[in-house]
């Protein structure tokens, strides 16, 4: 039964009902007796509702508290979280007055404003760049001179490069100066004559006499020299270093 019908039954007597009321009641109350029964029932229900409701016993609540404590072992963190949350997002306040919303709005505002500051800095840098460009235009020949006539620094660097290349080439020369030594076993036990061919020593070997790149002696007309180790003791050191 709708609340309007209950109110109608509660507020009026049967003889006060008009045609509309009786049509609304329909099958609920077809006679005065039924109308009165309904009236009594709803009045009695109101009496029941107004009575103090029964409450469960304390033991029931205590048992549930124990279950809750066992189920949720550490509620302190939750309480702390809730405390913070209630402070920053109190639901009783209107939306725009909640601190969290206000902080978020301030952050958004800051993000929106910050490009303006960066933009100002870029403009100032551009001015400096423009100044530098004017300088370049004012002294165009200096750059040309710099490129054509190297300054001391450039020369120094060139020298350095030269030196570096020398240093890099030294192993090459060393390789070229590597001595190819062939031993001639001499019958004399005391003398060991060593013939040394130095491929890169023009003062020692005639240029045309060695046609083989390794400097191996092939012809009879080649100039060669032989010395005893007594005369040149340094050769032994050289041999030791070589082998």
């Amino acid at each position: 039964m709708e609340k309007e019908l209950i109110d109608l039954i509660a507020e009026k007597n049967f003889d006060q009902l008009n045609t509309t009321d009786r049509a609304a009641l329909g099958d609920w109350c077809t006679s005065e007796e039924e109308f009165q029964q309904m009236k009594d029932l709803f009045f009695g229900l109101e009496v029941l509702k107004n009575e103090a409701r029964i409450e469960p016993r304390q033991e029931t609540k205590k048992s549930l508290d124990d279950i809750f404590a066992a189920t949720h072992a550490d509620p302190k963190t939750i309480l702390w979280y809730n405390t913070v949350w209630f402070i920053v997002y109190p639901k009783e306040k209107i939306f725009i007055r909640r601190p969290l919303i206000q902080m978020a709005a301030a952050l958004v505002l800051l993000v929106l404003i910050s490009p303006l500051f960066f933009q100002t800095e870029i403009i100032s840098n551009k001015a400096q760049y423009a100044k530098n460009e004017i300088k370049k235009d004012a002294e165009p020949n200096t750059d040309v001179i710099l490129t054509n006539e190297p300054t001391n620094e450039v020369q120094k660097s060139a020298k350095k490069v030269h030196i570096d290349s020398k240093v890099q080439n030294e192993p090459v020369f060393a390789a070229q100066d590597e001595l190819i030594v062939s031993r001639e076993i001499i019958e004399d036990e005391k003398l060991a004559e060593i013939t040394i061919f130095a491929g890169a020593a023009p003062s020692v070997v005639a240029g045309s006499s060695f046609d083989h790149p390794d400097g191996i002696f092939k012809g009879n007309n080649a100039i060669a020299f032989s010395q005893t180790t007594k005369d040149q003791p340094g050769f032994l050191d050289l041999l030791t270093a070589t082998f």
Partner: protein
């Protein structure tokens, strides 16, 4: 902490359930304060005024809420959900009683303490009206009693009752009509208006 107390009272049932699932004890206390009394009354009406059994049922229902808060769908109304759980618990109890007593409707004849039309003539007082009302409720079929109790005692709308009982609104209206006519017929001898 002082600030929180009134806020729990302002929270909706669904908001309290959300907090309970996070282990908030105060939220549980608030929800218990809201629903323990009405649920106890509902169980007592549905379980033949058996106080002990009703206390146990209240305990079991809230224990379920503590242990398995996820059973509640936060998109639903808590009120309809909790009454549907309570109603299902009652139905299970009826089935148990049927098995135990071998009765068709789950009601024990021992619970019908008196015949209102014969024994109580002359005891037309408000206190007796309540008792007579409860007894008349017991005589109603389960389906009519639950519809009437949810509508006129617990104050649920017809739509909410339809959700709780999972039947359509037309059926609810039909059951309410029958239950109201039945109770009005059986309680006419008390006539609380004439007693005042």
């Amino acid at each position: 902490m002082q600030l929180q107390k009134p806020q729990y009272k302002e929270l909706s049932d669904e908001g309290l359930m959300r907090s309970i699932s996070n282990g908030d004890k105060r939220a549980f206390d608030e929800l218990y304060a809201r629903y323990s009394g009405p649920l106890l009354g509902y169980f007592m009406r549905m379980l033949w005024r058996d106080r002990e059994k009703s206390e146990d049922f209240v305990h079991d229902l809230f224990a379920k809420i503590i242990r398995k808060p996820d059973y509640f769908d936060l998109e639903r109304s808590f009120k309809t959900w909790v009454y549907s759980v309570a109603n299902n618990m009652c139905k299970n109890e009826y089935k148990k009683q049927e098995v135990r007593k071998g009765m068709s409707n789950g009601l024990d004849n021992h619970y019908t303490l008196f015949d209102a039309t014969v024994n109580v003539i002359g005891e037309v007082q408000d206190a007796f009206f309540k008792e007579a009302f409860e007894e008349s409720m017991k005589k109603l079929d389960d389906k009519h009693r639950e519809a009437f109790a949810l509508r006129h005692i617990e104050g649920l709308s017809i739509k909410e009752i339809a959700e709780v009982l999972e039947i359509n609104e037309g059926t609810i209206k039909s059951r309410l009509f029958y239950a109201t006519k039945y109770l009005a017929e059986h309680l006419k001898i008390f006539n609380p208006i004439d007693n005042r």
